[in-house]
């Protein structure tokens, strides 16, 4: 598929264009990329769009030397590049900010950047510091140079990553779903940074994203990948979001959850948190109180890092509370261990699906991991019953997997479905669901949301923690907003809007 002709050097002035030609990559029998060609130009934001597993990340990993293609070629200015490692890529002026940052968390910002850009035996930290200050004002990337990276919020860590790539001299920068971890305000400032990098510094940017709104705002050119092939590559102002979504999913979007949020007042609450606190220097909880009724979905919104993760940890029992009480069905929990919460009927879907399951174990084993005893025979596990339980979950939850497949080989959407199947097959009275659709494609997202809606219909009380405000507005009957470890407001669905919640999230109201 050829890019649009004629505008190749619309933003010229930077480095020569990079051309990926007929890149093919297979993992076993799965073809991740099939003869993919892509042109990247300096001073241009090139958005790479596609569902999960479409091959976006694989393609960029190849460009950055993290993975090798089976065939195909990468050229810059007519010369073939040999990129076998990230070191080669950086030498060719290509930098990448991956979804998982590669910062040394216990070092300061200066040390991290010095580590990446050091070319001499001795390191002059003071000089690096000056360079950081200069670069961060130039690109609008404010970072505290002397701070320990681990102490910085995720948005700032991301800036450090970007700065690190820029200061090691890259003229092309790949950003792999950079906004997935950010709150609305941080997203806006990141988009501003992207604009400045493009226009002021003439850097070519590859932006991998799922979010149409961002692409509309910053992209000059959009390429859509589907099942390992480029199905469209065009200038951004020549194509609408609707067309892009259609290209991405290849079919019309299926219906949304069709839930009609409303506050439920009839029944008495089933889960009540009263002044719950977790003492921490940073990232603790203070005075968190809320109640959820059967069949209700309580959305928990907030900019990333304002205590949502800690709240989920408290409700899953992995973090012990220091003050306050948790009451389930009128009974106060003595301590919030995973076992006591589970016994009380609280189920959990953690924010990180990879960390919530054992990759090396089979799907069936992961599915029953929280209720192994149920399948205890006299001398051994009743494998047959386990398998039939798994088969029925697979058909009920539309999971594309076989029971004996290793969990780690599943796609993100199917992993999430297995974990949801595990959660809902306990018939929990309360379901704590955290970031259920993060990084999922449109189809899987809709399916997961409809599952959540269905569970609430059957009387399960749901606490939905999500950084996707649209998701919360679509599903939640009430929205609790967290700011600096506290719940700063609970808004009924009828009064909830992006603006009202946004103000609470920003700590203004």
């Amino acid at each position: 598929m050829n890019p649009v002709e004629g505008v190749t050097f619309a933003f010229s002035g930077g480095a020569p264009s990079i051309i990926l030609r007929n890149i093919t990559k297979a993992y076993g029998e799965t073809i991740a990329l099939n003869e993919v060609s892509l042109d990247l130009h300096a001073g241009e934001v090139h958005a790479l769009l596609g569902e999960n597993g479409a091959g976006k990340t694989t393609l960029m990993k190849i460009l950055y030397g993290l993975s090798q293609p089976d065939s195909g070629q990468i050229e810059a200015g007519g010369v073939a590049l040999r990129i076998e490692s990230p070191r080669d890529a950086r030498a060719a002026g290509i930098g990448m900010v991956t979804q998982h940052f590669s910062l040394v968390k216990n070092m300061t910002v200066i040390e991290n950047i010095a580590l990446a850009s050091a070319k001499t035996f001795a390191i002059d930290l003071a000089a690096v510091r000056t360079e950081i200050v200069v670069a961060s004002t130039r690109f609008g990337l404010d970072v505290p140079p002397d701070a320990i990276v681990a102490s910085l919020p995720i948005a700032l860590q991301q800036r450090v990553e970007i700065l690190k790539a820029l200061m090691s001299g890259c003229s092309y920068l790949i950003l792999d779903e950079p906004t997935a971890v950010l709150g609305p305000n941080d997203i806006d400032s990141l988009l501003e940074v992207i604009r400045r990098l493009r226009s002021d510094a003439g850097i070519g940017i590859v932006l991998i994203s799922h979010k149409m709104a961002e692409i509309e705002k910053v992209a000059d050119r959009v390429s859509v990948l589907r099942r390992g092939q480029v199905v469209s590559s065009s200038l951004a102002n020549g194509i609408t979001s609707k067309e892009l979504v259609a290209l991405m999913v290849g079919e019309q979007q299926s219906g949304i959850s069709q839930r009609k949020p409303e506050p439920r007042t009839g029944q008495s609450p089933i889960l009540v948190l009263e002044s719950v606190g977790v003492a921490r220097e940073t990232g603790g909880l203070s005075d968190v109180s809320f109640a959820v009724r059967p069949g209700e979905i309580l959305g928990v919104a907030g900019v990333s890092g304002n205590g949502q993760s800690e709240l989920v940890n408290v409700l899953s029992g992995t973090t012990q509370i220091d003050s306050g009480t948790i009451v389930v069905e009128g009974r106060q929990l003595g301590s919030n261990t995973p076992q006591s919460l589970m016994r009380a009927g609280v189920g959990i879907l953690g924010e990180d699906r990879h960390a919530s399951a054992v990759h090396a174990l089979q799907v069936v084993e992961n599915l029953i991991l929280d209720c192994v005893e149920k399948f205890n025979g006299k001398f051994q596990l009743r494998r047959k019953e386990m398998l039939s339980h798994c088969e029925s979950a697979i058909s009920q939850f539309e999971i594309k997997a076989s029971p004996k497949q290793a969990f780690g080989t599943l796609s993100g959407g199917n992993m999430q479905k297995v974990l949801l199947a595990r959660l809902f097959s306990r018939n929990p009275k309360v379901a704590i669901i955290s970031q259920p659709t993060r990084g999922l494609d449109v189809m899987a997202t809709n399916y997961v949301r409809s599952l959540i809606a269905q569970a609430s219909k059957q009387g399960t009380a749901v606490v939905l923690v999500s950084e996707d405000l649209d998701e919360i507005l679509e599903l939640a009957d009430r929205v609790a907003v967290m700011y600096r470890g506290s719940v700063v407001g609970v808004v009924d669905h009828s009064e909830a809007s992006r603006e009202s919640i946004g103000e609470l999230m920003a700590g203004i109201a």
Partner: protein, 358 residues
């Protein structure tokens, strides 16, 4: 030219056995070179070491005898490693087991054998588990790394034995630092008449079988594997991670201690400072070579038994150092670990630019 490792997408069933075969051949080849270097003739040495023990009844049964403690320590290490508890202390736990066993053996004169034998085995198991308790508690309560603590307790156990043998348990007849011979009622049965192969071997095989069944077939085993593979995921699924680790650590120590009791009650019949020929450390190698499979550990232990006996006869016949046996085991470890890597990854040599597909 640059080499790098790339994960294999799939592994055909025959690659594992093939690579183990290659590793074994390489081991023999490298050992032969070393033997030549030590002044021996390689081909007879290899024959003495690997084949002659299997050709005579004496050699075979002595190999079984040498393998017996390794069956226990191999199983002990394997089960701990499967749970993600890195117990390097099987040596100390085995030694603690010998202390418990000797203590029962020295005081069990009036008992009938049917009581004495279970008692001495139980004592070994209990002492082994007790020796494993402190590092396990430190790990599960305070998060102190068990690799260091279990390892450092090994020489402590040996020092306690030295103390006992130079003090209260000094041999009453010879005055040497060896204990008295244990009571007849606590000596294990010989299961192969007119040889030294004793009940401990059968017990070891049973232990292997139980471990295999438990880890592979029972709910507790599934939990143990989940805890070992992904402790956080196990915690989220509501599994008692710390308790699983604690219990596994005690079971592991108990199995190693049982191995100690089997040595005392089965062959040595008295405690000496040389009671363990690095059985615990070798157990780590056995379990690793077996990729933490229990049946594999049994086979590797038996093979090590052959090599141990074979290296002694090779050294006697060819006048080369008997340590050559340990050397062979070490070379085997290296080649097999390489084979395991190659089984999972393929080596990619890059000499030219990425090819154009057209």
């Amino acid at each position: 030219m640059k080499a790098r490792f790339a994960l294999r997408a799939s592994t055909p069933w025959w690659r594992g056995p093939l690579l183990v075969g290659v590793a074994a051949l390489l081991t023999i080849l490298i050992s032969a070179i070393m033997i030549r270097w030590a002044g021996g003739a390689p081909i007879p040495a290899v024959r003495y070491m690997f084949i002659s023990p299997l050709q005579s009844r004496f050699g075979f049964t002595e190999s079984l005898l040498s393998a017996t403690p390794l069956v226990f320590t191999g199983a002990a290490v394997a089960i701990a490693f499967r749970a993600g508890y890195w117990n390097i202390g099987a040596e100390g736990q085995l030694l603690a087991g010998t202390i418990g066993a000797t203590w029962v053996g020295l005081h069990a004169e009036p008992l009938p054998r049917i009581v004495g034998v279970p008692l001495i085995l139980l004592a070994g198991m209990l002492f082994g588990a007790l020796w494993a308790l402190t590092p396990a508690l430190l790990r599960t309560r305070l998060g102190i790394d068990e690799v260091v603590t279990t390892l450092l307790l090994n020489p402590v156990a040996l020092l306690i034995i030295t103390g006992l043998l130079n003090g209260p348990w000094r041999n009453s007849e010879s005055g040497f630092p060896d204990s008295d011979v244990i009571a007849d009622s606590t000596k294990l049965w010989i299961i192969w008449p007119n040889t030294r192969v004793h009940f401990g071997l059968a017990l070891g095989v049973v232990v292997i079988g139980l471990c295999w069944w438990f880890v592979g077939k029972m709910s507790g085993g599934l939990k143990l594997r989940a805890v070992g593979l992904a402790p956080n995921a196990a915690r989220i699924a509501g599994l008692p991670v710390e308790r699983t680790l604690l219990i596994t650590a005690l079971v592991s120590g108990g199995i190693a201690g049982l191995g100690g009791a089997s040595e005392i009650a089965g062959v040595a019949h008295q405690l000496t400072t040389g009671i363990s020929n690095n059985f615990g450390y070798t157990g780590v190698i056995v379990a690793t070579l077996a990729s933490l499979s229990f049946i594999g550990a049994l086979l590797v232990a038996l093979m090590f038994g052959v090599i141990t006996v074979g290296s002694f006869s090779a050294s006697r016949a060819l006048e080369i150092p008997s340590q050559i046996g340990q050397l062979v085991q070490a070379v085997l470890l290296i080649t097999v670990v390489c084979a395991l890597v190659i089984q999972k990854y393929r080596v990619v040599w890059s000499t030219k630019k990425i090819e154009v597909s057209k």
